[in-house]
């Protein structure tokens, strides 16, 4: 069981009983309308013989029954199938998250952009409808075919074969062929849409540049050309889909005609009574309702398989770090020691770290500086156990990092990066993530220390204020203070600052360093920053270039000589706020 369809089926296994129930109700719904038409035909055909009213009573009750049953069953069917759909959604989300969690963030680097994450979410939403749109229609159609086939075969085998064959062609062969034919235009469609989307994004986000170069009208022309191309492809697809619909309708009618051709002689020969002829005809016409949703199901099958394939691809990666340590040792102190560390992201990738050696004593501070791509963030990723290193060693509190469980390492390290993610929720919820059991006093205490308390007091709902996408928007400085408050709450002995003040203006930045200074007190610190003036009080500055330490020493020492560090510093201090 390795193919995508098999894995998909395994995934939905727990919901099969519910699906079967919904399927049976769905089948009963269509069976009711077949029943309705058949009994109605029975009434009318029998009435033509002018029998006593009592002879029709049963059929009249039947018609009423089926009439009501269909509505009620339809309601039930929709209710049950949506229950299944939403349960499946919850299941898929948990399943996917459980598989994804160990992979983050090492194996998800390519998925960092929000678009790709949104695609994952929409793929899951596609799969959520796997039962409703893919499994249910053919299931119901199959059961209905069995019903109608079984019903007709009691009268005549050939008639049953004729009707079943028509159902098969309308429900499976025709949509199957349509799918095959539209696959290539649909690929083109996806391309055309993507091109149009890219051109639209260019026109909107690049509008200033386009206008400045007087190219906006040209871009408009380009947009309209791409739009026309898209419309042409859509027209092709609609022509195919319409052909499917038209032929489907025609086939239902031809089935009725064929049924008559087979059964009319039977009536003549007395092997079939006239009432049954009318009943068979109307039941057959009604049964085609069951195959009507099948073309859509064929299309959805393709979409679902593609969505499933993409999701499996994401989670099939092996985690970058395998936790093998059964239990973590008790660190002797909170020192960090990196020895001849070498690391590359992939076997064929260049070395991201090439022989790094340094030591941070407990409570000490070491800074890493260098241009982007020099290896600073890689080192942080290794320290946080996001990646496994192969050469050299990292020791935390006297033990090799690998002797610890990754979780326990991260329990010792607090991190403030330039990307502080805030979840949709209240300020309190965002804080409590760091320590769920923290009480009111503790929360306000860390807010004070992070110099955020005044701000929070002025919010409409204080700690209950909604933040994130749907709530109050925080400024860059406020976000970072919140991140500081989180780390304060966790109270970790080791602290990593990874560009905590990037993208802030100079005045905000200065103020933030005061808060960071409080945070750093008494903790073992690794500091990455481009703000070199902040490094005066650091024990040792390591200047990285292409994965190597090219210069090291105290801030003031490094400035005394003609160093790379001094050039960077000059560049930096030559900036205006």
């Amino acid at each position: 069981m390795t193919g995508t369809p098999c894995r998909l089926v395994r995934l939905i296994m727990p919901y099969v009983p519910r699906m079967i129930l919904a399927l049976l109700v769905g089948f009963a719904t269509i069976a009711s309308s077949v029943g309705l038409m058949a009994t109605a035909a029975h009434i009318i055909a029998s009435a033509a013989y002018h029998p006593p009213l009592a002879a029709l009573q049963v059929a009249i009750v039947g018609v009423r029954f089926f009439g009501i049953a269909r509505g009620v069953l339809r309601y039930l069917e929709r209710y049950l199938s949506h229950q299944v759909t939403l349960r499946l959604l919850a299941h898929l989300r948990v399943w996917f998250y459980r598989a994804l969690e160990p992979l983050a963030p090492a194996r998800l680097l390519h998925y960092r952009s929000g678009d790709l994450l949104s695609r994952i979410v929409s793929d899951i939403e596609t799969l959520e409808h796997f039962y409703l749109r893919v499994l249910a229609p053919p299931g119901v159609a199959l059961l209905c075919a069995v019903l109608i086939g079984g019903f007709i075969v009691r009268y005549d085998t050939l008639a049953a074969i004729v009707v079943l064959a028509s159902l098969l062609v309308t429900g499976a062969l025709l949509p199957g062929a349509t799918r095959l034919l539209s696959r290539s235009p649909e690929h083109q469609l996806a391309d055309a849409r993507a091109s149009l989307a890219a051109a639209l994004v260019d026109a909107i986000q690049g509008l200033a540049d386009l206008l400045a170069f007087n190219q906006a009208p040209e871009q408009h022309t380009r947009l309209m050309q791409l739009n026309d191309h898209l419309l042409q492809i859509q027209a092709r697809i609609v022509r195919l889909a319409a052909l499917n619909d038209a032929l489907g309708g025609l086939l239902a009618n031809l089935a009725a005609a064929a049924l008559l051709i087979v059964t009319v002689p039977l009536v003549r020969e007395g092997r079939l009574d006239g009432v049954s002829l009318a009943v068979l005809l109307l039941a057959t016409l009604a049964s085609f309702e069951a195959v009507a949703p099948l073309p859509a199901a064929f299309q959805q099958l393709d979409n679902n398989l593609a969505a499933a394939r993409r999701l499996f691809e994401v989670i099939d990666a092996t985690p970058a770090v395998q936790d093998i340590a059964p239990a973590s040792p008790q660190p002797v102190d909170y020192s960090l020691e990196v020895q001849a560390l070498r690391f590359r992201y992939a076997p064929d990738a260049p070395l991201a770290l090439d022989g790094i050696t340094f030591r941070v004593p407990a409570g000490g501070r070491v800074a890493l500086v260098g241009a982007s791509g020099s290896g600073k963030t890689t080192l942080v990723n290794l320290l946080l156990c996001f990646w496994e290193y192969s050469e050299g060693s990292i020791r935390l509190g006297g033990y090799d990092l690998r002797a610890y469980r990754a979780e326990d390492v991260r329990r010792l390290i607090g991190v403030v990066t330039q990307y502080t993610y805030l979840f949709n929720g209240t300020l309190r919820e965002n804080l409590l993530l760091a320590r769920p059991e923290a009480d009111e006093t503790a929360l306000w205490h860390v807010l004070e220390t992070a110099q955020l308390a005044d701000f929070v007091r002025h919010l409409p709902d204080e700690l209950e204020t909604w933040i994130g996408e749907q709530g109050v928007r925080l400024s860059g400085g406020e976000r970072q203070r919140l991140a500081i408050a989180r780390v304060l709450l966790r109270d970790t002995p080791i602290l990593i600052l990874d560009e905590p003040t990037a993208n802030l203006d100079a005045l905000t930045e200065r103020a933030l360093w005061h808060a960071l200074e409080v945070l750093m007190r008494g903790r073992t610190c690794i500091i990455i920053t481009h703000r070199l003036a902040a490094l005066e009080g650091v024990d040792e500055v390591l200047v990285l270039q292409a994965g190597r330490i090219v210069e090291r020493g105290h801030h003031s020492e490094l400035l005394e000589h003609d160093t790379l560090y001094r050039r960077m510093y000059r560049l930096q201090t030559a900036l205006l706020a």
């Binding site: 009439g67 209710y79 890219a198 509008l207 386009l210 008559l260 009319v264 003036a533």
Partner: protein, 594 residues
């Protein structure tokens, strides 16, 4: 019933298609009646008159022919509907794009840009289902049952009345229950939206959760919230599905009542079998268009919702003061420009800001509160100030993305508003801080500076911008696609592309938005060299972030809160110990003061 008047007006784009849709669907309905009639003839003859297959073969052939023609009509109807949808979408998208261009970058920038792109693409695509499915089905639901009634009523008035009474109940109940469901949804909207978006939120914050040691336990949270989402959604759906219940109930009960009523009258001999059978055949088909409309209801709602946003954008007023309203000044157009050499014009004419005011969001966010200065030909002027002080507003005004709301900008003696913006922009080269790279090849991106430039000229410009080396290293050199679907360039590389554009454009006025620097000293040196060369011989306005830039500037204007609070040269301003001094010393000891 989701019949947006404005959307309906859009169908004027393709009136023939609209008529074709209506005609095809209607004729298909008429043929359906014919088929039912033929079928009832056949059954009646075989059943009651003992006809042989041979006797009814002709009828069966007619039946098949009707079916074939009807299928053709169904095909034509759908194709015509698609044609209609295509014409509407084409026109709307053209107008939408034109409107966005007219509104300018001040409107379409930042967070709104993503939403606008989605509206322009997905929002307008939603109308596909509206015009391609919902609207035709609406015709179908209006025309076909009515036709049936007109044909059935003379044959069998009682059935006709029954159908005429039950049919309108369907839309009535649908609207009634629909609005109930809508209210229910609206009440739950925020909670449903939050819970619906929760999963994406967790995925986006996964690294944060991991660092905080909270990622593993999120499984329970996701399960709990998804479950809560299911319960609440089902509560809404329980009501929503009532409309499906009513729909099916009315349609099937309608058919059932007609069947019983027709059967009874047949029993008492007041109706012939062929009429009765005919009515029975048509009864389900009579309700079918209304049921299908119910299934398409969602397309109607989605289309009407998308239309709201589309027309909201299309209805935005474009804030350009009309040139006609200005005092009589010579209007300089591109025709006049041909006579005046660009360099002669702008390179020798001062630009004068006279008490310029500007506010965003209808005056809610003032950006400039009376700014006056003179930019002399050949001068290098620097604008400095904290973020939000109005620097970029001045650039936007000079690029004519916006116009002063009070006060004026003059080029020589001519108000800038009276100059054709297209011509004016040929005079200005702009190097933004974060240049936008089009989803196109490198060469096309540089050619933005001058679309008719030869490849040699493009390469020469790239060389001057010190971009040559990294471009050569790209997989396909100058032909490499960049942007979302191609190679990604770093911020510094993007900047050098923008400088190449400016070299290629070779305009007399240069507006430069200096980037705040990283720590790559080598890159920085190259950048400074390119910029020095680019500035040479031009009038330059630079939003400065570097002391080296301000030290070399002929004049520095210090902006704060939309006003010029200080101006002068570097040393004079330092001596004043004002805002400029604070900014210059913010990043540590001042370097480079001789």
């Amino acid at each position: 019933m989701n019949l947006d008047r404005r959307l309906l007006r859009e169908t004027r784009q393709a009136t023939p298609s609209l008529l074709a849709v209506a005609l095809c669907y209607w004729l298909a309905g008429v043929l359906l009646v014919g088929q039912a009639w033929v079928l009832s003839q056949v059954v009646a003859q075989v059943f009651l008159e003992g006809a042989t297959l041979h006797d009814v073969m002709v009828w069966l052939a007619v039946f098949a022919a009707c079916a074939a023609v009807r299928s053709a009509l169904v095909w034509c109807g759908q194709v015509a509907a698609q044609h209609l949808a295509g014409a509407v979408k084409r026109n709307l998208r053209a107008r939408f794009a034109a409107q966005l261009i007219a509104l300018g970058p001040a409107y379409a920038q930042g967070e709104r840009s993503g939403e606008l792109a989605t509206t322009a693409l997905e929002g307008i695509e939603t109308l596909d289902a509206y015009f391609g499915q919902y609207l035709p089905q609406l015709f179908n639901a209006a025309l076909v049952p009515l036709t049936f009634l007109l044909l059935i009523a003379p044959l069998d008035p009682i059935s006709g009345i029954l159908m005429a009474v039950t049919a309108p109940l369907i839309p009535f109940f649908m609207v009634l229950i629909g609005s109930q469901a809508e209210q229910l949804t609206r009440r739950q909207w925020r909670a449903l939206r939050y819970m619906g978006a929760h999963f994406l939120d967790v995925l986006q914050g996964l690294t944060t959760l991991k660092v905080l040691g909270r990622s593993a336990e999120q499984t329970e949270t996701i399960a709990r919230i998804s479950d809560e989402y299911r319960r609440r959604t089902m509560a809404v759906l329980r009501v929503t599905f009532l409309s499906a219940l009513m729909l099916e109930m009315l349609a099937t009960l309608g058919t059932a009542i007609v069947a019983v009523e027709v059967g009874l009258r047949l029993l008492y001999g007041s109706l012939s079998f062929r009429h009765a059978f005919f009515v029975l055949l048509l009864a389900p088909e009579f309700y079918m268009p209304l049921r299908t409309l119910g299934a398409r209801f969602h397309a109607g709602v989605a289309g009407a919702t998308a239309a709201q946003r589309i027309y909201q954008v299309l209805g935005m007023p474009i804030a350009t003061p009309s040139v006609e309203a200005l005092p009589a000044v010579p209007r300089i157009t591109s025709v006049a420009a041909e006579k005046t050499s660009p360099h002669v014009f702008a390179a020798h004419t001062p630009i004068h800001f006279a008490d310029v005011h500007f506010a965003y969001e209808d005056g809610a966010r003032p950006a400039l509160r009376g700014v006056s200065f003179d930019l002399l030909p050949g001068q290098k002027a620097a604008l400095v100030g904290p973020s939000g002080s109005g620097k970029s507003t001045i650039v936007q005004l000079l690029l004519r993305f916006i116009e002063p709301q009070q006060g004026s900008i003059y080029v020589g003696d001519v108000p800038l508003v009276s100059i054709d913006p297209v011509w004016w922009r040929t005079q200005v080269a702009w190097v933004p801080q974060q240049p936008y790279l089009l989803n196109a090849s490198v060469v096309d991106n540089i050619r933005l500076g001058r679309p008719d430039a030869t490849i040699e000229e493009v390469i020469a410009a790239a060389r001057l911008a010190h971009a040559e080396t990294f471009i050569r290293e790209l997989p396909e050199g100058y032909d490499t696609l960049i942007g979302e679907r191609g190679a990604r360039l770093s911020g510094g590389q993007a900047q050098r592309i923008a400088i190449a554009r400016a070299f290629l454009k070779d305009a007399p006025l240069l507006i430069l938005d200096e980037a705040t620097s990283g720590l790559d000293a080598h890159h920085e040196e190259l950048l400074q060299m390119s910029l020095a060369q680019l500035m040479h011989g031009r009038t330059v306005l630079v939003i400065a972030h570097r002391l080296t830039t301000t030290q070399n500037a002929d004049v520095i204007w210090v902006l704060s809160g939309g006003r010029i609070v200080e101006y002068g040269q570097h040393r004079e301003l330092l001596a004043r110990q004002g805002l400029y001094y604070q900014m210059a010393t913010a990043y540590g000891p001042i370097q480079g003061i001789a």
